[in-house]
C-alpha cells in the first residue's frame, strides 16, 4: 500500500522580514506535516510566527528559505496563475471574516464558485446547500452588515468549503465573536472534520479553542516548541 502524500508539509521553513533596516526572523526552520483528515491547531502568542506560517501554508506568501508542499507539490515552483489555482483548493477562514460587503451571504459563496468557473445554476444550488450545512438557510439573502459575527463566520466557512478544498485554513476563527457563538462555530468545525472528513488547520492563541483539535502544535519565536497529540 502506497501512503498518500501529506496534505501539507513544510521543510525547514524560514521567513525573514526586513522591518526598517532590522531583519526579523518570523520563522526559524519549521517542519510540519498535516495528513488528510487531520485537525491541527497551531497555538502560540502573538509574534510567535503563526500568522506567517499561515501565509506560507496558504500560498499567500513565499518563504525566504525552505519549502512548502501542498499535496506533494512544491509551492515555490509555481507561477502566479498556478498559485491562484492552488488557492482554490484551500479554504480560507479569516478572523475578520473578509466577506465582500456588497454581496449577500449567498453571493459571497457564489463568488468563490464563479471564480472556479462554475455555471450560474450549479453555483446557486451549491451555495444554498453549503449555507444550509452551516445553518444559514434562512439568512442567505442578507448582506454581511445584516448578519451577526457568528453568522458571518458561518458564511465564511460555507465560502471556504465551496470548492471542496483539500483543507480548511482558519486564522483565529473565533477571535472576533462571543464565547457562546465561538463554541457553536467550533462545534460546526469539529463536525465537518468528523463527519465530512475535512482536513482542518486552525491558527489561534486561544488555549481553550486549541484543545478542540486532534493535534496541537505550539509555536514560540518562530519555532515549534511542542507537539501534542490529543487522540
Amino acid at each position: 500500500m502506497v501512503l498518500a502524500k501529506p496534505v501539507v508539509e513544510t521543510a525547514d521553513l524560514k521567513k525573514t522580514y526586513i522591518l526598517g533596516k532590522v531583519p526579523v526572523n518570523a520563522l526559524r526552520g519549521v517542519n510540519l506535516k498535516v495528513e488528510k483528515g487531520d485537525f491541527l491547531a497551531i497555538l502560540g502568542p502573538s509574534g510567535s510566527g503563526k500568522s506567517t506560517l499561515l501565509n506560507m501554508i496558504g500560498a499567500l506568501d513565499k518563504p525566504t528559505e525552505g519549502k512548502v508542499f501542498i499535496d506533494g507539490v512544491d509551492v515555490s515552483t509555481l507561477n502566479d496563475n498556478q498559485l491562484a489555482d492552488l488557492r482554490r483548493n484551500i479554504g480560507f477562514v479569516f478572523q475578520f471574516f473578509n466577506l465582500i460587503p456588497r454581496l449577500t451571504a449567498r453571493g459571497n459563496v457564489e463568488l468563490t464558485l464563479s471564480i472556479a468557473d462554475l455555471g450560474k445554476n450549479a453555483r446557486r444550488k451549491r451555495a444554498e446547500e453549503l449555507l444550509e450545512t452551516v445553518g444559514l438557510k434562512e439568512r442567505m439573502k442578507h448582506k454581511p452588515a445584516e448578519l451577526s459575527g457568528g453568522e458571518r463566520q458561518r458564511v465564511a466557512i460555507a465560502r471556504a468549503l465551496a470548492n471542496n478544498p483539500r483543507f480548511l485554513l482558519m486564522d483565529e476563527p473565533t477571535g472576533n465573536i462571543d464565547s457562546k457563538t465561538a463554541k457553536e462555530i467550533m462545534g460546526l468545525v469539529k463536525r465537518l472534520n468528523k463527519d465530512e472528513g475535512v482536513t482542518i488547520i486552525v491558527i489561534t492563541h486561544d488555549q481553550q479553542l486549541a484543545t478542540q483539535a486532534k493535534r496541537i502544535v505550539k509555536m514560540l519565536d518562530g519555532s515549534i516548541i511542542k507537539e501534542i497529540d490529543q487522540l
Binding site: 501565509n55 496558504g58 499567500l60 506568501d61 502566479d80 496563475n81 491562484a84 489555482d85 492552488l86 488557492r87 482554490r88 483548493n89 480560507f92 479569516f94 473578509n98 466577506l99 465582500i100 456588497r102 454581496l103 463568488l111 468563490t112 464563479s114 471564480i115 472556479a116 468557473d117 465560502r159 470548492n163
Partner: protein, 432 residues
Amino acid sequence: MKVGDVFSYAFGAIRLRKLRAGLTTLGVVIGIAAIVALLAISQGLQVTITDQLKSGFATDTLIVSPGSGGGIFSGMGGGIGGASSDFSLVVTDTQIINEIEDVVTSAAIIQEIGYIKSGDRTVTAYVVGVDFAVYSEIYGSTFVAESGEIVPNPDNDTVVVGKRVSDRWENGTLVCNVDDAVEIIWTNTTVRPPRNETYTVTVVAVLKEIGGLSLTGPSDFAVYIPLGQAQSLFGTDECDRIIVKLANEDSSTIEAVSEAIEDAFSGQVSVTSSTAILNTISSIFSTIELFLAGIAAISLLVAGVGIMNIMIVSLMERTREIGILKALGMKSRTVLAIFISEAVIVGLMGAIFGIGLGWVLANVAARVFTGGGFAAATGQRATSGGFVINPVLTPTVMLGAFGFGIAVSIIFAIYPAWRASKLKPVDALRYE
C-alpha cells in the same frame, strides 16, 4: 472566471458608488458630446454650403478668369485677383475658347454692381451683361424665366431680372415685374469724378428662384442685360470671366480643357471647375472638422485622467477586497479584467449618453446659429441669409465617438488595473 461574471462583478462594484461613477461618466459624456456636437454642426454646415453652391452650379462648366492663381475669387469680385496683371479677358476671347476640343460653347460675362430703381423703391443688384442665347444654353436649368420670356436676341433696352430683384423681401411686395419700366443706376468710375449713370429698361422676364449662393452661375440678385448693351454702357470689351460649357463632366475632360485654355492664354488666366471648388470647400471643411474634433478630444482626455484618478482612489479603498479575491483563487488577469471592465462600463455609458447629448446640443446650437431661435422653436422655418443648418450625424462620427470614448476609458484604466492585478495577496489582506 467567465466574461459575463467579470462584467457583472464590475457592474456591482460601480453600482455601489453611484455618485462617483456618475460623475466619472459625466466627464466622458461631456467629452463625447463635445465631439459629436461640433462635428454634427460642422458637417451640417458643410452640407448646407455645398448645397447652396450646387444650386447655382452646373458641374459641366469651367470658369475662366484673368490672372494666374486668382481663381474663383477673381471671378467673383469682378477682377480683384487679376488686378495685379495687365492681362485682361475680352469678350471675343470666347472665340478662342470655342475652338478647343470638347468645348460646347462659352459665354463672356461683364459685371458691375448697381441699383434698380422702380418707382420709389431702389435695391442693389449685380448688373450682368451676357449673351442670353449662350447663357441659357449653359445654364439650361437655372437661367429660366418664371414669368415673361427670355428671347435669344433681345432688344438693348430689355432686361431679365433675378427672383430676389423682383421679389426682394420674399413677401409679395414686388420691386418690379414683367413689362415694368425700371431704371438701372451704376457708378461710372472711368471718368473723374465718378458719376452715377442711369438708363431706363423694360423687364421682359423674371427668373425662377435659384436659391443658394450662386458663386458662379445665375443669381437671384442679378439683373441681366444683353452683352452688347453692357459693352457700350460700361464702355469696355473686357469681361470679368468666361463660362465654358463642356461636352461632358468627366474629370479627364475637365483637366484637358482647363490645360488647353491656360495654354491658349499663355498661363495668364486661371481656370476653375465647379467640381474643384466643391472639392476645395470639402477639404477646407475636413481640416476644420479635424481641428474641432481635436479640441473636443482634449476634453475627453481630461475625462480619461478623471477615470484614472478615480480608479486609483478606488484601488486603494479596495485593496483588501482584491486580497480576498486573490485568496479565493482569482488570477491576476481576472483582477485586471474586472478593473478594465469597470472602465469599459463607464466608457460605454458615457459614449451612449454623450452621443445623445451631443446630438441634442448640435440641434439646439444649429437653431441658435441659423437665427431662428424662437421661430424655430415654434415650428417656423428658420432662415438667416438663406442658411438653414441641419446637423448631420454620420455613422462614422457616431461609431468613431463611441470607439474613442471606450478606448480612452480603457487606456486610462490600464495603469490602475495593472496595479490592482499586481497586488500581493498577503499585503492586500493585511491592508487596513
